[in-house]
């Protein structure tokens, strides 16, 4: 994972609350088995509308999304983070994030910065007044700067440290493999195991057929 210290890029005001992951990337795009190449899927339904913000020239190269509260709600799909990253976003700013989305972001190096709704309104005004205006996000100082305005953001200390160091979670956990093995030794014998598989007798399942409407 790339180290994240500071980023400067075009701010995109997305004046919507409750932007769920079905809006960020509709389910039809989840059938791919690769980890990259989701840029075309980002906000796919809205991008069909010529007035949608990312269809305006000033915002096409946006990399800092400034969104309304409860961003990333709904489905756990990590594809939402991949789509934002593949499009070029490095930072999403909102006053509240859904838990799973925020967790997924941290693991993929997308910074989810929590800024008060009051300050988001100020950022929106600045970005609307001067479309294409740049925003600087400093993870080191935990600040968002847009022109003369500098506002603080919140982020979990541990996530911040991992982003700044660019560390991989699995590698960190495997440093404690002995603890995992020791814990496994204490688990009760009746805890269920999927293997060997147990189930009711196998039965033929009749395939449903299309009916004429």
């Amino acid at each position: 994972m790339e180290k994240f210290t500071t980023h400067t890029g075009v701010g995109v005001p997305l004046r919507r609350s409750n932007v769920d992951t079905d809006q960020i990337i509709p389910a039809v795009y989840l059938k791919r088995i690769t980890r990259t190449g989701f840029e075309d899927a980002l906000f796919a339904a809205w991008r069909g509308d010529a007035d949608f913000i990312l269809n305006k020239d000033e915002y096409k190269n946006g990399s800092v999304l400034v969104a309304g509260p409860d961003f990333g709600t709904g489905s756990s799909r990590e594809h939402a983070v991949w789509a934002l990253k593949d499009y070029g976003f490095k930072v999403v700013i909102a006053s509240r994030f859904a838990d799973i989305f925020r967790g997924n972001s941290g693991k993929q190096g997308l910074l989810a910065a929590v800024v008060s709704q009051e300050n988001i309104e100020l950022l929106w005004k600045l970005l609307d007044a001067e479309p294409g205006k740049q925003i600087t996000v400093s993870l080191e100082d935990r600040t968002v700067t847009c022109g003369e305005l500098t506002v603080p953001f919140e982020i979990d200390d541990y996530v911040r440290w991992r982003l700044m160091e660019g560390l991989d979670d699995i590698g960190l956990t495997l440093q404690h493999e002995e603890d995992i093995t020791a814990f496994e030794g204490t688990r009760a014998g009746w805890r269920p195991q999927t293997l060997p598989a147990k189930h009711l007798p196998s039965v033929h399942i009749e395939a449903a057929r299309p009916v004429d409407a």
């Binding site: 989840l30 799909r77 057929r209």
Partner: protein, 474 residues
């Protein structure tokens, strides 16, 4: 001071306490996989040269984009077929148990786990699917994870996690006839909002919850995520033990006794303190529906389409106006006058045998409203077999419904079961997001009883609206 059930489950699975702000390392008892959120995780393992640590605590099913017709033929959609084939290849390569299309144990992952007896009290259960919260109904800590975390669990059987806050949802009183677990959870979400549960594990408590069957409890825990919560739990009791006993993977003999003894300790202590509490009176409940494009935009069926101007909060007002435009609704229209094109009965929320029985009891001997399509999709192949053994399939087919094979189907429209643009549905599923059931589709979330009555009348309806109320509800 005592501890809450969620805290006990946490402590029971603590491998290592985090130091200096690092998260705790939590052991995972059961990891379920499906075709959509796992391919990139397996790819990650392969690239790093890692193995699956505990294939014996892992299970895979095919559900999200599998067809519900012609399941014995190759999957017509090429990308769906590729994704399903990839899961089969990954399961074979890493030694993971898989229940594929056509197998009697195939079905929606959250229906399959409990029915095999793999879900039981006192566990940690994860899956790359937000509705994993379903398994919390057994008194387990169960939550959805992203693909990176899927890879993490495959490689280590643990997850680094920060403790959740706890919220008690107290539902007391007696649920009136015609109201269901679905109405309870829709009312809770409308009350606390789609962000109200963020950072919390919700523990559903009170005599109205105690009175529910296991399947009804699963419906409630299933939709915890729609309130933004990480998980929902219900303390196990005799109802839980009775449900688990005798299932294929349930403990037996002395193991059973030992397990039950442990499970009985899984309750919130009387002197424990929750970070937040919410009360709901079950006596006041009536059939609930959603009118907007998030699950928090819900009202009783007896109400009318709200006027955005009536919302005090600016963000809510804007959200309501956007939602009504998308939904094609006019403020003031009584919900009961809204005509519906498609009724979907199924999903991990309401695709279990009790849901099918409840709907069939209403549909029996009645005829479908003209022009309405009713899609009945069992949550699993076993649910389908059970329904057929009880003759429910005949009731559905006589009514004019389409009786399908198991899967997620129209809940999220990844397979061919989709709404057309502007088509309106009454759906027993869990999300009414824009385009969720098909591009431009308009979704009203409802209980199985409302779904059935709607299919009879053609407009959003409850069983009370039917001229001759069925005996089962009197």
């Amino acid at each position: 001071m005592g501890t809450t059930l969620a805290e006990k489950l946490w402590d029971n699975h603590l491998v290592r306490k985090g130091e200096d702000g690092a998260p705790d390392l939590i052991y995972i008892d059961l990891h379920m996989c499906h075709e959509v959120t796992s391919p990139q995780a397996f790819e990650g393992l392969r690239l790093a040269g890692r193995q699956v640590r505990r294939p014996d605590l892992t299970i895979a099913t095919e559900d999200h984009n599998t067809p519900t017709l012609d399941i014995d033929l190759p999957i017509a959609d090429e990308t769906s077929r590729k994704q399903v084939n990839k899961l089969r290849e990954n399961a074979a390569e890493f030694g993971i148990r898989i229940h594929s299309l056509g197998d009697a144990d195939q079905g929606i992952v959250h229906v399959v786990g409990p029915q095999l007896g793999l879900t039981m009290p006192g566990m940690t259960v994860v899956c790359g699917d937000s509705h994993t919260s379903t398994h919390g109904a057994f008194g387990s800590l169960a939550f959805g994870i992203g693909t990176s975390e899927v890879e993490h669990v495959l490689a280590t059987q643990t997850l680094p996690l920060k403790p959740f806050k706890t919220m008690a949802i107290n539902v007391n009183g007696t649920l009136p006839k015609g109201s269901t677990a679905k109405d309870i959870i829709l009312a809770i979400i409308a009350k606390i909002g789609t962000g109200g549960g963020q950072g919390y594990v919700l523990e559903y408590r009170g005599d109205a919850i105690r009175a529910l069957s296991m399947e009804a409890r699963m419906t409630i825990c299933n939709m915890s995520i729609e309130a933004g919560a990480r998980a929902g739990i219900i303390a196990p009791d005799e109802t839980t033990f009775d449900y688990v006993k005798g299932r294929p993977h349930a403990p037996e003999g002395a193991d059973w006794d030992e397990a039950v003894e442990f499970w009985r300790t899984l309750v919130t202590d009387d002197d424990a303190v929750f970070d937040a509490e919410v009360d709901l009176d079950a006596n006041d409940l009536e059939p609930f529906i959603t009118w907007g494009t998030n699950p928090g935009q819900g009202l009783p069926l007896s109400a009318s389409v709200p006027n955005p101007e009536d919302f005090a909060d600016e963000a809510e007002r804007e959200a309501a106006a956007n939602a009504l435009e998308y939904m094609g609704l006019t403020p003031g229209t009584p919900f009961r006058e809204i005509p519906v094109d498609t009724v979907f009965l199924g999903s991990c929320t309401n695709g279990r045998i009790e849901d099918l029985r409840a709907a069939a009891a209403i549909l029996k001997g009645r005829t479908k409203a003209e022009g309405v399509r009713l899609l009945v999709v069992p949550g699993s192949a076993r649910v389908r077999l059970q329904a057929e053994a009880e003759g429910l399939d005949t009731i559905f087919k006589d009514f004019g419904a389409e009786w399908r094979n198991a899967g997620c189907s129209m809940c999220l429209g990844m397979n061919p079961d989709q709404l057309r643009p502007q088509e309106r549905s009454a759906s027993t599923s869990n999300r009414n997001f824009e385009g969720r059931q098909g591009k431009g589709g308009r979704t009203h979330l409802v209980s199985p009883l409302v779904a059935a009555a709607t299919a009879v009348r053609g407009t959003l309806s409850s069983p009370d609206d039917l001229v001759d109320a069925p005996a089962a509800l009197v």
